[in-house]
Assembly symmetry: C2
């Protein structure tokens, strides 16, 4: 799946991923009302509106953006009805030709990780009948438990042409508390995690030299990102932190190789809430989202240059 993502990045000259972190509060006021003009106050109707919002954005960006990242926490907070909207959104984006990253940061011991892998990257058997649960192309995972918690995902990656991204150096301010601890051999914890990620993916390197086991590396930490790019030439980066979190194109260009490849940059609120910004005033949310995607593409192109050989 990593080759398909990179193909699409080159085709569109756009290493952007739109984060559908769709809080009901982000919706325009008219979408917060039901047909009779009353305020929506149930998960069932709220999540229908969230799905509608996502679909309209997907329709408007699918020809210029290669991927969406759907952050499951924003759906879990609406209970199982939220998960229904999550499922529908993944399916819809795939139907429109987008690559779908389920941002779930799942992690557990082997037998349980195997259930998570079935849920997102494989399928679940019921009396021998295989059924798909949440249809993702790529999944984020957390490797704190070590290799036997990741192996089940790697097996499904190989069997079903999928990818994962493991947390290495996250974009949040406190990420250093664990990740930047220095080990007795002089290495940092995030570098050790990076080495494990490289090991997990080494049998899955594709035509661009990148493996199916990528790393989450925040745009907000350029020093670490630069070291990781050198340490991990075969590891593709999922790069959060652009925009609202303070990362910018100049900070994150260190994540890319000499061919302008090696990463995909996520932006969530900066796109889906663009309609609230003064520069897009008067536009509806999906047109504003498209305009914000084009502005982001230009910003990234100016820092990274042409993508592909």
């Amino acid at each position: 799946m990593i080759d398909r993502l990179i193909d699409r990045i080159i085709e569109l000259q756009n290493p952007t991923c739109v984060g559908l972190d769709t809080n009901f509060d982000y919706l325009p006021d008219d979408m917060k009302m039901d047909k009779s003009g009353d305020e929506i106050t149930t998960f069932e109707t709220a999540t229908e509106r969230i799905t509608e919002f996502n679909m309209n954005i997907i329709d408007k960006i699918c020809d210029i953006v290669p991927a969406v990242k759907v952050q499951v926490a924003y759906y879990e907070m609406y209970g199982y009805e939220g998960l229904k909207a999550f499922d529908y959104t993944l399916n819809y984006a795939r139907g429109r030709g987008m690559i779908v990253i389920a941002d779930c940061k799942r992690n557990d011991i082997g037998s349980t990780a195997s259930c998570y892998s079935k849920a997102y990257l494989g399928s679940t058997c019921v009396n021998g009948k295989k059924i798909k649960s949440f249809p993702a192309d790529m999944l984020t995972v957390n490797g704190y438990l070590g290799s036997d918690g990741i192996t089940p995902f790697v097996d499904d990656i190989k069997a079903n042409d999928k990818s994962i991204f493991a947390l290495v150096k996250t974009s949040n301010p406190s990420s250093g508390e664990l990740q930047n601890l220095k080990l007795e051999n002089g290495e940092y914890v995030y570098e050790r995690m990076g080495a494990l990620v490289n090991e997990w993916g080494k049998d899955t390197v594709g035509k661009y030299g990148y493996s199916e086991v990528g790393a989450v590396v925040g745009a907000t930490h350029p020093e670490e990102a630069e070291k990781l790019r050198k340490q991990l030439p075969n590891t593709f980066f999922l790069i959060p932190g652009y925009g609202a979190q303070g990362g910018n194109a100049q900070m994150l260009k260190v994540c890319f190789d000499s061919h302008g490849l090696g990463g995909i940059v996520n932006n969530s609120r900066g796109i889906i809430c663009a309609y609230k910004k003064p520069e897009y005033s008067g536009m509806n949310y999906y047109d504003a989202a498209r305009a914000a995607c084009i502005a982001m593409q230009q910003d990234l192109q100016s820092a990274i240059g042409k993508m592909g050989k």
Copy 2:
């Protein structure tokens, strides 16, 4: 909530938690058929049967076991219908007076962690109306992202009388790859995580001396568990790994203090699949589950002794 859990452990003289990791495959053959005798082959019907199985077990153990731990991965693999069964199971167990641990190992940056916290420990607002999502009393989390990824959970703990357990030293064979790395100051990564857990919980210490921010410490690693018990006198342990994973009562007794308190021991397959063991042959699954709980209680009592002052 930690005081309520310890009260109940003392009352029942039982520091056991039953893990409802209910794979459809674990069900007795007659529960895998529908009313007309055909094999069930949909998530909808499969998850109805999983719920029924859980309810019958809960009914049979709620007077002798203080808590259940519901592992969400086993529900996510059945899609959003699985999450409906998860939700129903949490509600049912609480209704029967059990303390409910949602084993989700959630983790993300602050704004997203806040969504997860709403989902399990708080409530979600829709146009100002607060609605409960998944009604847990306690939640497992993963602290790899550091303090700002945990703070949202701690806020909800304080506001809503809940608890969390953060992964410190997990029960799986590869847990040492990250967790047992030695830092330049001589500390191990799991000890540093333990120190953070102590810090996160320090304002929430209850009447037994334990805080609302507990630690996951595997029964399979007694050496680390013993060190952690000494390092963290105010941290309550959720102890997986008993039974199927190889941990036993002698190995895990180091997790308990001189009053026989300080931890709760989880057993999943050893209880819910007890009916498949030779020693319970001829019993139905819920009677076998109860018998296995009693055997486990006796095993733990023989190692730990009387619970409470």
